[in-house]
Structures are given as C-alpha cells and as structure tokens.
C-alpha cells in the first residue's frame, strides 16, 4: 500500500499572522513551519505501517507551495515519510481552494496512492475543505475529521464526530481521509531522522509535469476574489486578572460574580 500525506508550510503560530493589505493575501514573511495538524496525518501513516495489518510500501509527503515549503517536506520526512513531492510553480501562486484542490489532485494522480491523508485544517487558511475537493477530483471516497481508523486489506473503518454524535463509516480503498487532531499523539523526530531528512529523495514538479491546465490555477484560475478586508466589529474587552495571590484572585472572582448576582 502506498500512502500520500498532504502537508503544508504555514506561519509559525508563535508569530503574528496577518494579511498583506496590498496583495490581500496572507503575509508569508516571518518564521514558517510544518502545519501542526499535518503531523497527525504523518503519524497516522506511520501507525498503519507499524500496525502490520497491511503492508505499507511507501509514505510520500506531498506539498504545493513556494521554494521555502521544502522545509515542511524535510520535517515530514524526519517524522517518517520515505520521500517527498514538491509541486512548485509561479503559476500556482494565488490559488483559491478550488484551484489548490485541483492542482494537488493532479500531483497525486501521478503517484496513484491507495490512501491520501490530510490534516483537519491548515493553521493559516483554516478552510477544512481541501480533502473533500481533492477526493472528488480523484474520484475517491472521502471522510474528514476522522479520529479512529482501522485498516484492513482494501478498506478502512473510520470513526468521526458529525452533527449528531459519532459516526462509524466503512470506506473502500483507495480513499482520501482528513484526520482530526485527536487521532494520535505525533512522535518527536529523532536527531538522526532530522539530520538524514535532507538526503531522502525529493522531486520538484511544475504544472506541466503533472498535467495541470494553467488556466485553472493561480489567481487567474481562482473562482473567488477577495474584495476587501475589514476589522472585526469593536468589542468591549473584558477584565483581566493575573493570578499572583490565589486567595486574592478568588476574592476578586467571587466579588465579580456577586456584583452580577450570579451567586
């Protein structure tokens, strides 16, 4: 079985994320890192490999992004992927969800995976949708927010929470699965794995290499358009107490509650 893990490079959560008012796109300067939600996808792939219920031949990390996205691939390899595929082309810049999903599906077609794993969301875009877009292009069944996945020959039994509680769903492979962050605790990469990551095979491909129709991607191929960016409605900020002396803190909370007749 071949597993492809979709991974993305995102701004480090520790730094302020913001939108560039000029380009109306996310400001991509500053520290960048592997989308933390994607580490759960790689870990899920590793647990399938180590679980032994099915033989995993290969785990491939796949990303679409600028040159710097290579670092997200290195980190993915350090976490367990065997090699990586970088879809990189200036023509892709400014792609919306529709265009990104199409482009990633084209790249995945060249790999013919049995299972595609994604994170539940990208930490910057937070669209929650790429998995289902990719699946329809690949003509594969899919499910998002999966927190339990039992693999056997040719199929998966997945559990996920939807509007009315937990659903258990059986899915035939090949399939596209977005995993929730409760599915596992991603491991820390060993120093050896980090050092060795840059030596693992990394293919860089452009739109022409994977058969992407250039008119369907990038800003020109996108179907949505950001028309404006506005600040949120002003909100009266709440009162903040720093806990230094806990007895005093508790007194303050109690007084606050009493004032509002809550106790």
């Amino acid at each position: 079985m071949k597993i492809c893990c979709l991974v993305k490079e995102v701004p480090d959560a520790a730094v302020q994320k913001r939108i560039d008012a000029g380009t109306k796109r996310l400001d991509r300067s500053g520290e960048r890192t592997l989308n933390p939600f994607d580490t759960h996808g790689i870990e899920a792939a590793m647990q399938i490999r180590e679980g032994g219920a099915v033989a995993v031949d290969e785990i491939v990390a796949v990303t679409m992004g600028p040159d710097t996205a290579v670092r997200a691939l290195h980190k993915s390899v350090a976490l367990g992927a065997d090699r990586s595929l970088h879809l990189s082309d200036p023509a892709l810049s400014g792609s919306d969800v529709c265009a990104t999903g199409y482009a990633l599906a084209k790249a995945l077609e060249t790999e013919q995976p049995d299972l595609v794993l994604l994170g539940q969301q990208s930490d910057d875009g937070e669209c929650y949708t790429i998995g289902a877009v990719v699946a329809d292009h690949l003509k594969m069944p899919s499910l998002t927010q999966v927190i339990k996945m039992d693999v056997s020959e040719g199929k998966l039994v997945c559990q996920r929470q939807a509007e009315y509680g937990y659903d258990t769903v059986e899915i035939a492979l090949p399939a596209v699965i977005s995993v929730g962050d409760a599915i596992n605790e991603p491991r820390y990469p060993s120093l050896k794995a980090i050092m060795g990551a840059k030596k693992k095979p990394l293919d860089t491909k452009g739109t022409g290499d994977v058969g992407i129709d250039p008119s369907q991607v990038g800003e020109a191929g996108s179907k949505t358009q950001v028309l404006g960016i506005n600040p949120p409605p002003p909100k009266q900020s709440g009162e903040i107490i720093e806990d230094e002396d806990t007895n005093e803190t508790v007194e303050k909370i109690v007084a606050w509650l009493e004032e509002r007749k809550l106790i």
């Binding site: 509680g165 179907k223 358009q225 903040i240």
Partner: protein, 325 residues
C-alpha cells in the same frame, strides 16, 4: 434564474437541523434581493408534509432524492450538482455543520465553483452575493466575491437565524439521481452515537462550567464538577476532551456539539477555538481561567483569569460554597 439552493440536513427521525432552517431563511431573504428563489434539497425518506413545511422558512421548492442516504457527503454532492445544473442555481448555501463543509467542498470540485467557508454574513450587491468571512482567529473579516456561477457559501454555526417566512407549503419534487461510482464506496455503519443516552440537558442550565484539555486528565474533571455543583449548574466540555473519552458527547459545546446561552459560562482550561466559541459566545457572562495569557478565549470573555486552574478552581469552589452557606 438567480436561485439559491440550500441543503436541509436532518437526523434519523427526519427532524431538520436548525442551522439548515436558518440557511433556508437566509436564502429566501437573499433570493428576494438578487431576484430569484430559494429551494432546498432533502435526501432520504422524509415525508411530504415535513418537506412541504420548509416552505414556512421560505423555500419555494424542495427537491427530494428519496433513495439517497443521509449522513455522508458524496452522494449528496451528486444530488446537489444535478439540481444546480438542471435548474441553473447561482449559489449553494449551507448552514454551519460538518456535512455542509464536505458537500460544499465536493461541489467546488465537481462544478469548478468558488467556495467560502465559516461565513458569518452574506450581502447582496448588484444581483450578486458577497460572503463575509472572519479569518485569523477573527482578527479580520474578508469580503469574498465570486467570479463565476455557481458560488458555494458555507455558513458558520448559528450564523443564520431561523425566521418563519409566513409562506405556505413548498412544492415537493421527487428526483432520481444516479450516484457516482466513488459516492457509493463509503457506507454508514452507525450514525450519531453519543455514548450517553439520557444525559443531562446542558442547554437548559443557567450555570455551566466548561472543561477543556487544560484540566489535564479524565479524573481531574472532578474539579469542574465540584465547581459546577457549588454554582448549582452542570458541566460542559470541548471536543478535545470528548474525543479523548473524558466525558460523554452530550456535554459538548460547539460546532458539532450543542449551542448554549447560560447566565454564566465558566471555562476551565479551554483555549477558545472558533469551533467552541460558536457554541457559547452568546452566554450572558463568560469567565475564563487559563494559564496562557495569549489564549483566544481572553479575546471574548468578560472576566479573564490568567493562572493555573488547579490552584484557583478548588479554592473558588470553597469560596462559593461558603458564600452560599
């Protein structure tokens, strides 16, 4: 026709989801503004009267695909893609909910359509719709327009109010849809299990103590329980701790849980992720205890306490008990 098509989600008893009803109300209003009508798609064996009653929220037609199962997205993508193509709808609108995200995304791929998610407001301008979407932890709101039709709009939970339109019954039209090969490769084994039949109804409680991952482990939920009982209320939870099995699903607040608006919501060790916020932001008073001063919950609480809940909460419980005598 500049119509708007809404997906009406229902549970296994055929009761429509409030977020779907809100989306129908919103679609009816917007359709009036851009000149067109609002229609709904229903899958499964929902009876004529229940479907027709969607007219009361503003749907003029209900397209029903009886043989298509409810609960998994891809077969519903097949149904909606056919209705949109056959009747020329300009937009598809979804109320907040996980299935709406999946169906909307599938339609995006199938129809080459633009999609906006987590939408909190939709505006009509020059016969077109513009979606407002908060981004980056609600620190900015972007206005998104569509360069082609159809446009897909996925609402945030509770973004659209349910408003009876005063209209009569909707016309119910049964449709036959051939499912795509890949849409039939997933099968629902069991749907909507809570693991807690007959749990407490947190929606009716005036006082709720919400527990999050910051409680540390399952046993520590006692800290939240004791505080809740001192306040005369109930405990609630985040998805993180429900997924971890610390507490049953019936206590979960948020996007795929319940929506509450108690007099007091006291959050212990909860970061305040959007998906949690949408289920409790209308509480009258929000108090948060969190050791991370940058936690998003401090952006929308009324009283924020930066500190270790394990030090503060037990003493708070004692102090409240003492006050109450």
């Amino acid at each position: 026709m500049a119509g708007i098509l809404v997906y009406a989600l229902h549970d296994d008893a055929g009761v429509f989801n409030n977020n779907s009803l809100g989306a129908i109300s919103e679609a009816a209003k917007l359709a009036g503004e851009i000149g067109g009508e609002a229609a709904a798609v229903v899958v499964g064996e929902v009876d004529d009267a229940a479907c027709a009653a969607l007219g009361g929220y503003g749907a003029s037609t209900v397209y029903r695909a009886k043989s298509v199962p409810e609960g998994l997205a891809q077969p519903i993508v097949d149904v909606m893609a056919k209705v949109i193509t056959d009747h020329g709808f300009s937009y598809a609108l979804f109320g907040g909910g996980l299935l709406g995200f999946e169906i909307g995304a599938g339609l995006t791929a199938r129809l080459g359509a633009g999609v906006t998610m987590e939408v909190t407001k939709v505006k009509a301008e020059d016969g077109k719709l513009i979606a407002e979407r908060p981004v980056l932890q609600d620190s900015a709101i972007v206005d998104v327009g569509y360069v082609s039709e159809p446009g897909i709009i996925i609402g945030r939970l509770n973004a659209f109010d349910v408003k009876p339109s005063g209209g009569g019954d909707a016309a119910v039209e049964d449709i036959e849809v051939e499912l795509s090969a890949w849409s039939t490769k997933a099968r629902m084994v069991t749907r909507g299990e809570s693991g807690d039949e007959g749990g407490v109804n947190i929606e009716d409680a005036d006082f709720l103590v919400g527990g999050g991952r910051g409680l540390g482990d399952k046993d520590n939920f006692a800290v939240a329980r004791e505080l809740a009982s001192a306040l005369g209320g109930e405990v609630a939870a985040t998805r993180a701790v429900v997924d971890a099995g610390w507490i049953p699903y019936s206590t979960q607040i948020g996007q795929t849980g319940k929506t509450v608006a108690p007099k007091l919501y006291l959050a212990l060790g909860i970061s305040g992720a959007i998906q949690h916020k949408v289920g409790m932001q209308n509480s009258e008073n929000i108090v948060a205890i969190n050791k991370d001063q940058n936690a998003p919950i401090f952006e929308f609480c009324d009283l924020g306490v930066v500190g270790d809940l394990h030090k503060i909460a037990p003493k708070l419980t004692e102090a409240i008990k003492a006050k109450k005598g």
